[in-house]
């Protein structure tokens, strides 16, 4: 069971997050201020941390900086009401691994924590496989079973990202940031359109679906059971 340390001063927000993460099977420890949070991070060695930026006692970024100086590599998700691009850049530069602006959907938070916990290992593998799906990164070809899937470069990029993170919920914001490198949320539902096209190619009419739409949250690529 993964252990998550939450450092957040607002007790109501903390309660919501704790309850949601506990439902998903995480063990959550909560600190309401930076100094105590830093102590807990040192003593209980969590698998991941959620750190609010503005904390009483010690600023969230200072906590992260202190841990990084002690060579603690625990992945950290920074929470902040400061949503400007510059704040985000600063948050990531100070050692945060991901940055989420308040207010956020709880699913988004959980998806990002899971993504942090299951970061794809650097692999020399040139062929990605998920169930019957096969992606050759050198030849730039895709196959489902024996069926060859013709993909446009942009679709290939999307599928590659999803296969590296199969069985994980990928939210629209995550996809925008990671696949298209968008630093803003476009007016149109870009992600849905692209995903629709990819799904059309990956899941044939008489095949079991692999790309699943999670209502109101995002998408998951699952190996067919």
């Amino acid at each position: 069971m993964a252990k998550v340390l939450l450092i957040e001063d607002d007790s109501e927000t903390a309660e919501e997050i704790t309850a949601e993460l506990a439902d998903r099977g995480f063990e959550v420890e909560w600190s309401a201020n930076g100094i105590e949070g830093l102590d807990k991070a040192r003593s209980s060695r969590p698998d991941a941390m959620i750190v609010d930026r503005l904390l009483p006692g010690m600023d969230g970024l200072t906590v992260i900086e202190a841990l990084r100086k002690e060579q603690v590599r625990t992945p950290v998700l920074v929470l902040s009401a400061l949503g400007a691009v510059d704040d985000r850049v600063r948050g990531l530069r100070m050692g945060g691994d991901d940055y989420l602006t308040k207010p956020f959907a709880v699913v988004e938070l959980v998806a990002r924590i899971e993504a942090l916990l299951r970061r794809p290992v650097e692999s020399r593998e040139t062929v990605l496989r998920v169930g019957p799906l096969e992606l050759d990164l050198i030849e730039r070809t895709a196959k489902r079973g024996d069926r060859v899937i013709e993909l446009l470069p942009r679709e290939f990029r999307l599928l590659e990202y999803m296969m590296q993170r199969s069985d994980q919920l990928l939210t629209r914001a995550m996809l925008l940031e990671e696949v298209w490198n968008y630093k803003f949320v476009p007016a149109t539902n870009l992600v849905d359109v692209h995903m629709g096209r990819l799904r059309h190619k990956v899941d044939g009419p008489d095949e079991a679906p692999m790309i699943h739409n999670v209502r109101g949250a995002g998408f998951i690529l699952r190996a067919v059971s």
Partner: protein
């Protein structure tokens, strides 16, 4: 003791200083005049007595005595001095008691202390004098009292007193008056400014005529106040718009929740209600995010992180992302890039701007229409042009589309926040580029990027059509 306020004022200090400098200057000037006149008079006396001495010396000894007596007799003012002393030192004739010891015989005219004597008494004087030894051994001394110099110095001193003191006082008075006047104006301005601070935005600073610096300053400040008043009113208008646009989805969410709480009987119904409410709240959040983003860009001073952005690659990339969306709507999206052109800027922001324009173009183009993206060179400018076959933006709407939350009546039912073009305009302005919106069939929007040399001048709309 408290000094009156004007004495402490800067203006008064200046006046005091000017008066002091003026006084010193006048004193030096008068001194110089006195010195010059004194010098002149001395030189003249010296010349006269030297000439007389030569004249008398040329006479026979008897005629000399007569000439001296004659000379002294014809001197009603008593400034002439003359005497002949015998070789051994006693006076033969004249009105000088004895041969002055400081007087050099056969030397040039010089100042000498003598004792003047006549029938009535003796008197010590400092005079200009000259002495010469005659052939028979007698010493002839001629002198002249230059009392005029002393009189002149007296006159000069009086003039100085009469002129300088009133002038000095006048200076001080003028200084005090100016200082009091300036203070009154400052106080007047202060009162008005206090009223402005208190919230009366219509208040302006007083000014009299244009040529006076104080009035000039007041006119400048008034111009600034005009601009600020307009801006504040615009901002208040935006505030109302924001409140309206935020309230609408929130109200909807509230009603949905309220009705759901009363009417929902199954979990599914409650979930449907929650989804609807969340959608409403999300829309409000989207608006807030867009507004914050707008504020972030407008206040950004990010030109430090500018780099060369290859527009040809960037346009292709953005089009690649939007192609499926256009296809879904059966709109042809085409990019025509003839040159490889780069501009200096923030890549992410420029992508955002172009993406917004393309997003808009696709949204407002009916099925079967087309959207063209072009990269052009014209003059010293690089132009990104997005043309669509939608309903276009009317002449009278062109300014309005850049207003926050403006949504044309024609498109009331198209989803969107109404901040897209504001974002584009803000990004364009940040880069020192220009945004031009052309009317006509469909809509043509251009981001005009002047070359860097040309961009140094402030970006201003060059034609009636350009808005920046």
């Amino acid at each position: 003791m408290r000094q009156p306020q004007f004495i402490r004022s800067n203006t008064f200090h200046w006046a005091l200083m000017v008066a002091g400098v003026f006084a010193v200057f006048v004193i030096v000037l008068f001194g110089f005049i006195y010195w010059q006149i004194d010098d002149y008079l001395t030189a003249r006396s010296d010349r006269v007595i030297t000439l007389e001495l030569e004249g008398i010396a040329g006479l026979s000894p008897e005629r000399r005595l007569e000439a001296i007596d004659e000379k002294l007799r014809q001197d009603p003012r008593g400034v002439q001095l003359a005497a002949i002393f015998a070789a051994e030192g006693h006076r033969i004739t004249g009105n000088i008691e004895s041969l002055p010891p400081s007087l050099r015989i056969d030397g040039p005219a010089q100042a000498a202390q003598i004792v003047k004597t006549n029938g009535k008494g003796r008197e010590h004087q400092v005079v200009r004098a000259i002495a010469r030894r005659m052939r028979n051994g007698d010493v002839l001394v001629l002198g002249r009292n230059v009392d005029e110099a002393r009189e002149i110095s007296h006159v000069v001193g009086e003039a100085l007193g009469l002129g300088l003191l009133p002038a000095f006082l006048l200076c001080l008075l003028a200084g005090a008056w100016l200082s009091v006047r300036a203070q009154k104006r400052v106080e007047e301005v202060n009162q008005r400014v206090q009223r402005i601070i208190a919230g009366d935005l219509r208040e302006r600073l007083p000014h009299r005529n244009v040529d006076e610096p104080f009035s000039k300053l007041a006119i400048i400040v008034n111009g600034m106040l005009d601009e600020m008043e307009t801006l504040i009113h615009a901002l208040a208008g935006v505030g109302n718009d924001i409140a309206h646009d935020l309230r609408t989805p929130l109200t909807r969410a509230r009603i949905t929740l309220e009705r759901g709480r009363t009417n929902a009987t199954t979990l599914e119904q409650l979930q449907a209600v929650s989804d609807k409410a969340i959608a409403g709240i999300d829309q409000s959040l989207t608006i807030i995010t867009a507004l914050l983003r707008l504020a972030e860009i407008e206040n950004s001073r990010r030109s430090a992180s500018f780099a060369d952005v290859p527009l040809h690659d960037m346009l292709r990339e953005v089009c690649d992302i939007y192609e499926p969306i256009a296809e879904n709507k059966n709109v042809t999206l085409q990019v025509a890039v003839r040159h490889r052109l780069a501009v200096r800027g923030d890549r992410d922001l420029l992508i955002e701007a172009v993406a917004n324009l393309i997003d808009n173009a696709i949204k407002f183009t009916p099925e079967g229409g087309r959207v063209d993206i072009e990269l052009l060179r014209g003059g010293a400018e690089t132009i990104v042009r997005v043309t669509d076959t939608g309903s276009g933006i009317g002449e009278q709407e062109r300014e309005a589309v850049l207003r926050r939350f403006y949504r044309s009546d024609k498109i009331r039912n198209t989803p969107g926040v109404g901040l897209g073009l504001n974002l584009v305009a803000a990004i364009v302005k940040l880069h020192g580029f220009r945004l031009a919106i052309h009317p006509g069939p469909g809509c043509r929007v251009e981001i005009i990027c002047p070359d860097r040399e040309a961009a140094k001048q402030p970006a201003r709309p060059t034609t009636g059509q350009a808005v920046s």
